[in-house]
């Protein structure tokens, strides 16, 4: 047996190290064991909670994103185009009326382009629905004029409407504005709703992650105490826990975010294949594109990062509060 005096005098220690057997040498070189228990039930529960909440948060963020994107699309398309319909009238030339209406439209400020859909074009569009055996000349097919608005101030549609009524009474300006307004309100409501849902999910996420972190920390109070009494500084203890919980949070957040990304990718793929079909077109018209784009993925990454940081921060605050009570 060694003498404690020799043991405690530093100089004597190192010559003896050389004689340590291989097994002990390996003991020294092995990877550092975490001071905080790596694999615990509460830790795993925390990872699960974080993963689920991240998934829900990113999903609702994506939904808000899609709604915003789709409603933007509607507004854009609708607000950029109007049509003037010129109906055939007894004793009037449809071509002349169309030309007159188009001229009036062209003369209106704020209108970028005016295009008369030719008779042949109309016929080609309508033929599948009316049958090829028909004589189109005998049918009262209205002539369409597509009016594209400029990006500047909106045109005075009321004035155009009045002018049309005077010069070409059989022309009707199909003003989308009323519909547009309703759509705008609806899209706005949907957007607000989606953002609200996202915020609620975010708050729920913060609370759930916060509580789960506290729960996981509860079993670690003994570790904090022991580290404290063997002379660890408060900063050291806080860092140990913070690092550990950042890892837990990052694991959970990454899994949740990955799942959300996979779902969006799958939806995008589905859309890609369905695009050729009429159903796909309708879907597209209604919801715009399913792909959330790089900005969407950026948002998902930010949410995941935020949740992981929140986990670390919560554990740190539990440690600090506990240590404050210790003296």
């Amino acid at each position: 047996m060694l003498h404690i005096k020799t043991l405690l005098s530093r100089k004597s220690l190192f010559p003896k190290v050389a004689s340590l057997d291989v097994g002990q040498g390996r003991l020294i070189e092995k990877r550092r064991v975490a001071l905080v228990q790596r694999d615990s039930i509460s830790g795993r529960a925390l990872v699960t909670v974080v993963a689920i909440m991240t998934f829900l948060a990113t999903l609702s963020a994506g939904a808000a994103f899609l709604v915003a994107q789709a409603s933007d699309g509607w507004q854009h398309q609708v607000s950029q185009e109007m049509t003037i319909q010129v109906r055939p009238a007894e004793g009037r030339s449809l071509d002349k009326d169309a030309a007159a209406a188009a001229a009036l439209a062209r003369a209106t400020r704020g209108i970028a382009s005016v295009r008369i859909v030719s008779k042949a074009e109309s016929e080609r569009l309508l033929q599948p629905w009316l049958g090829s055996g028909l004589n189109f000349d005998a049918l009262p097919i209205p002539r369409m004029i597509i009016v594209k608005l400029g990006n500047g101030a909106p045109p005075d549609l009321q004035a155009l409407n009045a002018a049309l009524a005077k010069a070409v009474p059989n022309a009707a300006l199909d003003d989308h504005r009323l519909w547009l307004q309703r759509l705008d309100t609806m899209a706005g409501t949907m957007e607000t709703g989606a953002v609200l849902v996202f915020m609620l999910v975010l708050v729920a996420t913060a609370l759930a992650v916060g509580f789960a972190t506290r729960g996981a920390m509860a079993g670690n109070r003994d570790i904090i105490d022991v580290l404290h009494f063997v002379g660890a500084s408060d900063g050291y203890i806080a860092r140990e826990f913070q690092g550990h919980f950042l890892r837990l949070g990052a694991t959970g957040a990454a899994s949740g975010a990955l799942l959300a990304v996979l779902i969006y990718a799958a939806a995008g793929l589905f859309e890609h294949f369905a695009m050729a079909t009429a159903g796909g077109d309708q879907l597209r018209a209604l919801f715009g594109s399913f792909s959330i784009g790089s900005r969407g993925y950026g948002v998902i990454a930010m949410i995941a990062l935020g949740i992981a940081l929140l986990t670390a921060f919560m554990s740190r605050s539990v440690v600090i509060r506990h240590l404050r009570g210790l003296y």
């Binding site: 060694l2 404690i4 003991l27 020294i28 790596r38 022991v226 580290l227 009494f229 063997v230 050291y236």
Partner: protein, 238 residues
């Protein structure tokens, strides 16, 4: 360590810990400690004794700065505890080794990692402290148990692990709460000899115990007896 530098002297004696009129009450009603006055001298060896519930553990906790007294003054290494900043408290704690009555080993760390803890939290690399830890473990007879978790240890082995953890930082003051409570008389005597040797190498030792037989083996040691909340000091009859 720095020896007597910076420590208070009184009639040529250096104190590591000093209690002045210290009282402690957990609930504000019953006093666990009343008007306690004593000092732990440098290079001293003393038993802290008294019946169960007398307040031995509480007194050690006060010395460890784990607890604030209800009234009175406690000085550690020459400084009033309540005047110390957090880093100063941490620094003072590093000069004290403690063996808890319930060991307080970390269940998920091996014996080796538990004992290494006080050096590890100083930020030392394992290459530096590893050999010391192994040597100390061999010295307390746990050379072949260092890779196991505390859960598989016997009571005595846990106790020796806790003692090794208290010693690894070469403390100036060792506080041991009932360190022979879980071991057979032979091992108890061996552990006591360990503490005695530690004392001879310059460490001040405070051992809380109610094992009279143990104290009689070290008749030269000072006895601090807690009874009814008051501390009675018995100097060895040399």
């Amino acid at each position: 360590m720095g020896g007597a530098a910076g420590l208070p002297h009184m009639k040529g004696i250096t104190f590591l810990v000093r209690f002045e009129n210290v009282s402690l009450s957990y609930d504000g009603e019953h006093a666990t400690l009343r008007d306690v006055n004593f000092a732990i001298e440098q290079h001293s060896f003393q038993f802290l004794t008294g019946p169960s519930g007398a307040g031995k553990t509480s007194l050690l906790r006060l010395m460890l700065m784990a607890l604030k007294p209800t009234s009175g003054q406690i000085s550690v290494f020459g400084r009033r505890v309540e005047t110390l900043s957090k880093p100063q408290l941490t620094a003072a704690r590093r000069r004290i080794g403690v063996v808890f009555q319930d060991f307080r080993l970390l269940d998920h760390l091996t014996v080796y990692d538990n004992v290494a803890l006080p050096l590890r939290v100083l930020g030392q690399p394992e290459s530096k402290y590893g050999p010391e830890v192994i040597e100390l473990l061999q010295w307390v007879g746990l050379g072949d148990r260092m890779r196991v978790l505390p859960a598989v240890l016997s009571g005595g082995e846990k106790q020796r692990t806790a003692i090794a953890r208290a010693l690894i930082g070469r403390p100036e003051l060792l506080l041991a709460d009932e360190p022979t409570g879980n071991v057979d008389p032979t091992l108890a005597r061996r552990l006591l000899r360990l503490f005695a040797e530690l004392h001879r190498s310059g460490t001040s030792v405070v051992i809380a115990t109610h094992d009279l037989g143990l104290m009689e083996q070290f008749a030269g040691a000072k006895r601090l007896v807690l009874a009814d909340g008051r501390l009675h000091v018995f100097e060895p009859h040399s």
